[in-house]
């Protein structure tokens, strides 16, 4: 029975994603612009110094970027659900309320994964994917990173009262998480303060895992920096921790009261 409910929640997420064609399109175009414009420009500069292929180096980070936007924004839409009627449908349904969080996390992760598969196809067609690719590791890395982004999106969503501060979330969460993750440059030679931040950013380990899968033959400065096992366990740990806190918060805060306070602070 809960399986049917979960499938419905996932189905709804995908339906909504496919309806928002504009958002899907921009989700594809955003990483391509990075790849062609930044990757092309910086790559040309680096080539003069004889470093490796910068565009190849960017690909893992850009896949993660798609997950960050796709899965995290899908999770954050929980806040909109609180304001609209959907949350009422969910809280009165016959399963525990933490299941709403778990099912929404999975559905957000799937929405992100669908987008990333689309981008992978585009990249393959454009010739930006180079062999050898470790497919199993790629799949694992994508799934873990998608769940990570979805889980942290959920964590933000259960604590925020409204998404009026959407720009704040974009500027103070999504962009820093992306910039400080090793997606754009290797971490090794960063100043200590910057490096410390990247090391506590769980997203870093997702990017690194994908580097293992996609550019393991890359040598020198552009190579992966953590071990595969390290990446997998840190991500799993962060996912579990984030979901645990999110579920706790969601089930502890009396649902209808927090709904009411959201509605009232919106009316003011």
């Amino acid at each position: 029975m809960i399986a049917r409910a979960t499938r419905a929640i996932i189905g709804r997420e995908l339906t909504r994603m496919l309806r928002q064609r504009g958002r899907l399109l921009s989700a594809m175009i955003r990483p391509l612009i990075w790849l062609l414009v930044i990757g092309g420009g910086v790559g040309a500069m680096l080539e003069q110094h004889g470093s490796g292929d910068y565009q190849q180096f960017l690909v893992p980070g850009l896949l993660c970027m798609v997950l960050l936007f796709g899965a995290m924004l899908a999770s954050l839409s929980l806040v909109y659900d609180k304001e609209s009627g959907v949350m009422r449908m969910l809280v009165i349904a016959p399963f525990s309320h933490y299941w709403i969080i778990l099912a929404r996390t999975v559905s957000a992760a799937i929405a992100g994964l669908v987008q990333v598969l689309l981008l992978l196809a585009i990249l393959a067609i454009l010739g930006y994917l180079s062999l050898p690719i470790q497919f199993a590791l790629l799949a694992l890395g994508l799934v873990l990173t998608a769940l990570l982004c979805a889980a942290f999106g959920m964590l933000i969503a259960v604590f925020s009262k409204s998404l009026d501060n959407f720009a704040v979330i974009m500027n103070f969460i999504i962009f820093p998480v992306f910039f400080l993750s090793g997606a754009l440059y290797p971490l090794e030679h960063l100043p200590l303060w910057l490096k410390s931040i990247t090391l506590i950013n769980p997203f870093t380990y997702g990017v690194d895992l994908l580097k293992h899968a996609l550019i393991s033959n890359e040598a020198g400065a552009l190579a992966p920096e953590f071990s595969i096992v390290q990446g997998i366990f840190i991500q799993i740990g962060c996912i579990i921790a984030a979901l645990f806190v999110a579920c706790l918060r969601f089930t502890q805060a009396p649902v209808m009261e927090s709904l009411a306070s959201i509605l009232s602070c919106r009316r003011q």
Binding site: R7, R88, M89, L90, I92, P94, S96, E257
Partner: protein
């Protein structure tokens, strides 16, 4: 003894300084139709949310369909249907998608949902809107769909929080016919809140809430009878004068600006005599049967004369 569909004892909800519900004890018999009435802010919605597991009581115990709501919320929710005061639909999905989504949340398979969906859309005359997004429906259509969603899984206990607000008379009647059919066919119990008291006259029992407190309870017909045999309405420019004049024979009236309402206890009340005496002095004079609206008005007077039954 018949089992109770809803049973709560000493139910209290405190929001900061506001006591939204105060020591409420209710018993709704299985299969019965129960009305919870009261002015805005009297605690009806808060009560429904507590009974349906969505808000935690500050104090009190609740059983719904035999389940302890605080200990077995999931089992209780499986037996509950709830039509919220505000809409509980996904505006970005179509009518059919919404009902399929809601059905799946209760574990219904697609065939069952499809069958009930067709029936419900037919009932509310919404077949042509099947593939239309909820955002593009009129307010009344959305309300109808909300009710369809609430009863889709054939709940044993249905909570209706002002269900017919914004609905036209045709749809309103269609809904009540449908609800009464569900009650007959499935023995469904219903707890209703409404500000349209004619709808509550069909209740087996109504309870009046005020400031979160129960101020009276009973069968509508009994309550109406207890109020008096007739209601005498007088419209006048000098209400105070007539209160003074008539109070000794007719009792204290309810005053609504320039209108006075007297509850007449005497079955053989001589209206003709009064009419002759007053008809040239007052603007309007009318004698009629009391209804639930009158009971409500008497119980919710600012002077607080509503006696507890």
């Amino acid at each position: 003894m018949q089992a109770s569909a809803i049973e709560c004892r000493g139910l209290t909800k405190q929001y900061g300084d506001v006591r939204a519900v105060n020591e409420l004890t209710l018993n709704v018999a299985d299969g019965s139709f129960f009305g919870l009435l009261g002015p805005n802010g009297s605690g009806k919605t808060t009560t429904i949310h507590m009974l349906s597991t969505l808000a935690r009581p500050t104090v009190g115990s609740i059983r719904v369909a035999g389940y302890d709501v605080l200990k077995q919320p999931v089992q209780a929710r499986a037996c509950i249907g709830l039509v919220f005061q505000e809409s509980a639909l996904d505006r970005s999905l179509t009518v059919a998608e919404n009902l399929h989504f809601a059905g799946a949340l209760y574990g219904l398979d697609a065939t069952t949902v499809e069958q009930r969906l067709a029936e419900l859309l037919d009932l509310f005359d919404l077949e042509s809107k099947r593939e239309v997004r909820v955002a593009a429906l009129s307010g009344g259509m959305r309300r109808a769909l909300d009710i369809a969603r609430g009863v889709l899984h054939r709940p044993r206990v249905l909570f209706l929080d002002e269900p017919t607000i914004g609905l036209d008379i045709i749809n309103r009647r269609a809904i009540w016919r449908f609800i009464s059919r569900l009650r007959q066919e499935h023995g469904m119990s219903v707890l209703l809140t409404t500000h349209y008291l004619e709808e509550a006259e069909g209740c087996d029992e109504v309870a009046f809430l005020r400031h979160g407190q129960l101020i009276g309870q009973g069968q509508p017909s009994d309550l109406i009878r207890a109020l008096g045999h007739y209601i005498l309405e007088i419209e006048t420019d000098q209400p105070d004068y007539y209160i003074e004049q008539l109070s000794s024979e007719l009792g204290t009236p309810v005053q609504e600006d320039e209108r006075l309402l007297f509850a007449i206890q005497d079955e053989d009340f001589q209206f003709g005599a009064l009419q002759q005496r007053l008809q040239h002095e007052v603007r309007a004079l009318q004698l009629r049967k009391p209804d639930l609206n009158d009971v409500y008005i008497w119980r919710n007077q600012p002077t607080g004369k509503g006696e507890a039954a």
